[in-house]
């Protein structure tokens, strides 16, 4: 089979309870031909990384609006590396101040998608940058 769908985990780490954006993105990526695993609200980094591992996803997308991104996102990235998933692309979205973006990128985040990003832009980025699959 050629042209396999890219598998994406959309996760909401931490305590914020706003997942409209995550759901809109999950649905939008579905329409772009991705297989999207959505895991729901209030996930710990450990839960997210376990889900990413069991689902063998190509991409982990983290949606955060709580302001805790500098704590939670690096934790997810380092857990992914610890468990041998350094080939998994990590992207974040939500409310993230510009000045925090370099720190997130240093932690291993490939892209930060803020408000106003279109789903097509996200889809194109993921297609271009997720790991090659066998």
């Amino acid at each position: 089979m050629t042209d396999r769908p890219i598998k994406v985990l959309i996760a909401k780490p931490g305590l914020d309870g706003h997942d409209r954006g995550a759901k809109v993105l999950a649905r939008g990526l579905r329409d772009e031909g991705f297989e999207v695993v959505y895991t729901g609200l209030r996930q710990t980094p450990e839960m997210i990384v376990t889900a990413a591992l069991q689902e063998d996803v190509d991409v982990v997308g983290l949606s955060i609006l709580s302001g805790a991104h500098l704590t939670l996102v690096p934790r997810v990235c380092s857990l992914l590396r610890e468990r041998g998933m350094d080939d998994v692309l990590v992207a974040t979205g939500g409310i993230i101040p510009d000045e925090d973006v370099p720190a997130l990128k240093d932690a291993g985040v490939a892209a930060v998608f803020g408000p106003g990003t279109t789903i097509t832009e996200v889809a194109e980025f993921l297609r271009a940058n997720s790991r090659p699959r066998d």
């Binding site: 990526l29 579905r30 297989e35 729901g40 376990t50 063998d56 468990r83 066998d134």
Partner: protein, 364 residues
């Protein structure tokens, strides 16, 4: 088959299988992906794993969308973990017939086991497979089985009335219904309820739950005791009530599943195994046939002519050209299929491939 692919050399495949068998969850996850994507690695893994499988208890959980299958599966995981039984879950959700994409949302209800190595949950998209499962479900269950998960829960897509395939995959089929989803007429319709070993009326705390269970029991009481000659014996499912979020009735459900497993004579088990084997072999055979037919090449004059005329594909691929003829109503599908089979088995002559083709009458 002598196909090569980067990352799937024999030794790499062996290493990955060894790792998965020794408890490496990432290796197991990667093999599951290979099985979903039907890569050569999957074939290598199945050759290793399949002889080790056959011990696990496969439990199918099916029922309409929104009946509470995922929540009930989560409650069953909790019950199984209380007894320290390792459990794997294959949760299937539908793929879009239009884009091929999918939203896999079953994990939302199954979040409590992130640090528990005895639980492995895998979501799968149905990828165009009808019947409530994906093509890879049975193979995935075999991998989990061989990797030491002695219980595998298979959750189907939200099933309508006739997605009964899970009954040929699992030893025990649990059909989940919700209260007030239909009257007695729904209970006597053919399909899903006929393949149930256990019927669960979930959301047992809702009004009408007991009434729904009573109606189902009343309708099922008329099921004949004996099988008619040449037919499988009719099932006599228990009807149980559960409230999945509180866990009420779930211990009883697991006990019923286990009791069925130990009481069931091995012949019933054997017939499920045969059905499953048949479905698996037929599916692989159909894949292989497709592959070989798509790869057929033939010096077919007419194909070349058609290509020159710019009316079809540029390659002289008989399959594509025959499909085009069927699409244009120049050839019927039966003849086209026979021609392809003849070419495959070498009994057909190139010149006869389009022998029955007729010029399409132009309506003008």
């Amino acid at each position: 088959m002598a196909r090569t692919q980067p990352g799937a050399t024999p030794s790499a495949a062996d290493e990955l299988c060894d790792a998965a068998l020794s408890g490496d969850r990432r290796a197991l996850a990667r093999l599951l992906t290979a099985v979903e994507n039907r890569t050569p690695l999957a074939e290598a893994a199945m050759r290793r794993f399949y002889p080790m499988a056959g011990k696990a208890q496969l439990i199918g959980v099916t029922g309409p969308a929104g009946a509470g299958k995922s929540t009930l599966v989560a409650a069953l995981i909790a019950e199984l973990r209380r007894a320290e039984r390792p459990v794997a879950v294959v949760a299937v959700d539908p793929s879009s017939p239009i884009t091929g994409g999918a939203v896999l949302g079953d994990r939302v209800r199954m979040q409590a086991y992130a640090s528990d190595d005895g639980v492995f949950i895998r979501s799968m998209a149905s990828r165009g497979h009808a019947g409530g499962l994906s093509t890879a479900t049975t193979a995935a269950a075999a991998l989990f089985d061989a990797a030491g998960f002695d219980t595998v829960l298979i959750e189907t897509v939200g099933a309508g009335q006739s997605e009964v395939e899970v009954a040929a995959t699992a030893y025990t089929t649990v059909v989940v219904e919700a209260p007030e989803m239909g009257d007695e007429i729904q209970a006597i319709k053919a399909g899903l309820l006929e393949v149930a070993d256990i019927i669960v009326v979930n959301k047992g705390d809702r009004p009408g739950a007991h009434r729904t269970a009573a109606q189902l029991r009343a309708m099922l009481a008329d099921t004949p005791r004996e099988a008619r000659p040449g037919r499988p014996s009719p099932k006599h499912p228990d009807v149980l009530l559960t409230t999945a979020p509180t866990g009420e009735g779930v211990a009883e459900l697991l006990a019923a599943i286990d009791a069925r497993r130990s009481a069931e004579p091995s012949t019933a088990d054997g017939s499920v195994r045969l059905k499953r084997a048949e479905a698996q072999v037929w599916a692989v055979l159909s894949d292989r046939l497709h592959e070989r037919i798509r790869a057929l090449e033939g010096p077919i004059e007419e194909v070349a002519v058609a290509a020159q005329a710019g009316s079809g594909s540029e390659r002289s691929v008989p399959a594509a050209e025959l499909l085009r003829c069927v699409a244009a109503n120049e050839l019927d599908p039966y003849t086209a299929a026979d021609r392809l089979l003849e070419m495959l088995t070498g009994t057909g002559r190139p010149g006869t491939v389009f022998a029955n083709r007729r010029a399409r009458k132009d309506p003008t």
